[in-house]
Amino acid sequence: MAMSAREIELAIRAALPDADVTITDLAGDGDHYAAMVVSGAFKGKTRVQQHKMVYDALSGRMGGQLHALSLQTSVKD
């Protein structure tokens, strides 16, 4: 089953409590999302590390239950 935008947001917030999370349902099919995540925890990390932190927050569902999540991360000031 696909994940809802709310589930994705909650999973990311659970791991990165300070994060501003914006989820967009790209195709309106509950299966293709874009997420913008802004968190202080990204400070000093490379993009790859930042994206991995978000993938870790989704604990293995990325690439499986969650087919497509286009991800953009940035550091919160």
Binding site: R47, V48, K52, Y55, M62, G63, A68, S70, Q72
Partner: protein, 112 residues
């Protein structure tokens, strides 16, 4: 990474190819929009790369995700270093970071 023949194959492929893209389909016929987007960026810059079609090889398809600790395809490697998936490559390209990235690593860009 020991005793894993798939990881050994990936490591060997990485050692032999400076720019290696793990993707779904081929550069001419990508089977996924995310893979197509990375091919397009590399073509735009004029980077010569080798691609591995993970749809043709289930072991690599799973193995590369474990190898990189990255859950999705495509995955771009430059000189053995994991650079990112579609989002990161596109973002680096749009921010003008990708060209210097290749240049610093001595990778020729035909269209630079």
């Amino acid at each position: 990474m020991n005793d894993n023949p798939t990881h050994d194959r990936i490591a060997k492929d990485l050692a032999e190819n400076e720019v290696l893209l793990f993707m779904k389909g081929t550069p001419v016929f990508p089977q996924c929009g995310f893979s197509a987007a990375v091919v397009q960026v590399l073509s735009e810059l004029g980077v010569k790369f080798k691609s591995v079609d993970v749809l043709k090889d289930a072991e690599i398809r799973q193995g590369i995700k474990e190898f990189s600790n990255w859950p999705t395809i495509p995955q771009l490697y430059v000189k053995g270093e994991f650079v990112g998936g579609c989002d990161i490559i596109k973002e680096m390209f749009e921010q003008g970071e990708l060209e210097p990235f290749f240049a610093e690593r001595g990778i020729a860009l035909a269209n630079a």
